[in-house]
């Protein structure tokens, strides 16, 4: 086998190995991924859709998305009528925090800032209920609740990686370091890769 053929063969083997690594990585992410929607994520999507109800070009679609994830009648409480948003999203700031359990349901803290004008419902909680067919739904707006605040006001993030995950990342880092170290050594002229 000529050196050129050998290089090409090594290159194809490398390509195949890389593809396998990425497929395995994708599988791993899939295995550890959550199959159930987080209520905070749904609440954020709903608020985004509410903001888009004043946005040119996507108003109709936004209305559909609002109805998909919650009660459309709540929009009026968040965006007072008669304010011209100049065809933009109604919210210039949008943030949700970690949900808390209260009164048998889930409440997601939120904060929005209107692009124009003001609203008394700029911050508070969204009451979420899980519908067996439609998943998490926003059913009511409430005033701020003690212990439920958005991260920028000192509350918890929507989701927090547990400490053990950082430890696992360090262990993975160690294995990556060992693997890379072996690859570098194997690539030396006297190494085991095909030459």
């Amino acid at each position: 086998m000529s050196q050129g053929d050998s290089l090409r063969r090594g290159f194809l083997v490398g390509l195949l190995a890389t593809a396998i690594v990425f497929v395995l990585l994708g599988g791993l992410i899939g295995v550890f991924g959550t199959t159930e929607d987080r209520p905070e994520g749904v609440a954020e999507r709903w608020l985004t859709a509410v903001g888009d109800t004043t946005r040119s070009g996507v108003k109709g679609d936004a209305g559909t998305r609002v109805a998909d994830h919650g009660d459309p009648s709540l929009v009026a409480a968040l965006i007072p009528a008669g304010i011209d948003m100049h065809g933009k999203s109604a919210f210039s700031e949008l943030e949700v925090g970690k949900a808390i359990r209260r009164d048998g349901g889930l409440q997601v803290p939120y904060h929005v800032a209107l692009r124009e004008g003001s609203t008394t419902a700029g911050q508070g909680v969204l009451s979420m209920v899980k519908d067996p067919q439609r998943g998490w739904q926003v059913r009511a707006l409430g005033p701020p609740v003690a212990g439920a605040t958005v991260p920028s006001k000192g509350g918890s993030a929507v989701s927090k990686a547990p400490g053990v995950l950082y430890l696992a990342a360090l262990v993975i880092g160690l294995f990556v370091a060992i693997g890379c170290s072996r690859l570098v050594r194997a690539a030396e002229p006297s190494g085991s890769l095909p030459a």
Partner: protein, 444 residues
Amino acid sequence: MTTDEAGLATVAPGVPGDFEEASFTGPVDDPSLERDDAYLRLLLWLLVSAAFFEGYDSSILALLLPNIQSTFHVSEAVLGITRIPIELGLFVAFFVARLSDRVGRRPMLLWSVVGYTLFTALTAFSWDIWSFAFFQFASRVFLGAEYAVGVTMIVEEFPAARRGRALGTLLTFAALGTIAVGVLLGAGVQDGPLEWRAFYLVGLAPLLVLSFYRRRIKETRRFLAVRSGRIASDPEPSMLEAWQPRYRRNLVLVGLVHMLRSIPLFGSTAWWAFYAERERGFSTGRVAVYIICAYGLGCVGYYVCGRAMERFGRRPTALVYFAGGITFSILLFQSTSPSVQFVALLLAVFFGLGMGPVMSAFATELFPTEVRGQAAAWVRNVFEIAGYVFGPALVGILGDHTNGAIGNVGDTVSLLMVLQIPGLWLVWKYMPEMRGRELEEISA
């Protein structure tokens, strides 16, 4: 590929290596092909637009991510996945740029400007996230080719003593592209009738002007000389030349260090604005101020890195910059205090992006002249682009607020930063020190 006055190696990403050695041997001795200072200045100013728009284009996507998400109403995971085809455009650009060896630098440059302009304009008219991804992919192909051909033209036209400075100017303008997006963001362009789409049209106007002035650009002396047979063309090296057993160890080492750095680095730069707005409650205006200040001051990191690697050596400089990049990036994505975040962003840019010169030195100095261009191209267009492609995608998929395994961008980026530790280890354990050594000595 070349070295500047201080001996600092400067990477020329994607530059075909086949004309490289001859460009060091001196000018082609035909008076009609002499390039005066005025022409070289014009050439440089026209070529910096390619570098400027490389920074500008990438930053639009990073800084306006929440706006783009809102327009196409897609999840963070989908946003992350669409970055894969978009950034693969830079990989394809490597092959497109190689066409300049056949058709000439000038036509390749002009066609790449036209292609970039066309697809950037079309991006503004995207109707869904996939059309957006396609137009951005095509725009990246031409932008990457334009940048690579621009660097080749500088290498072939500028005298050795001014080449390093010219390439340095190119790198600086990439950072200015990011600052420009910050300024436009602060000016509220995204609040205009065209929203984020206006940013792509703003990028169009100067390019149209540049397209007009580019009529004054001449074919490089080196290419004309080769075509007319006055000097012999080097045989086109195989793409796999840099994988020969005698270079392979260094290529694997440098490539892995680049990849381990770029996955978390580009994951963090692509998602910081989104993180700041959605997980820390920043307004768009505050994001703009932070970006302008952090990139403005953080760019000093490039300069300090260049000086430090000459004074203290490549390895210690890289180790300090790696450690600083990891520390301040984690602080940036974990702190809840806006003032701490400001300082952390500034220092994360200083160390994280500022280590570019020492990474360029690794990618060039460890290889002999005959394969330096090929090796640098592999490092930049394959290993490093793996970071552009997979870094943002991993953060989007794992950090998706609704379905992601981790569920928040801040923790996902912090966890990915751990990947830089093996890179740091590889530098400490295997990377040879090249300070004060001539390229020939290192090659031997």
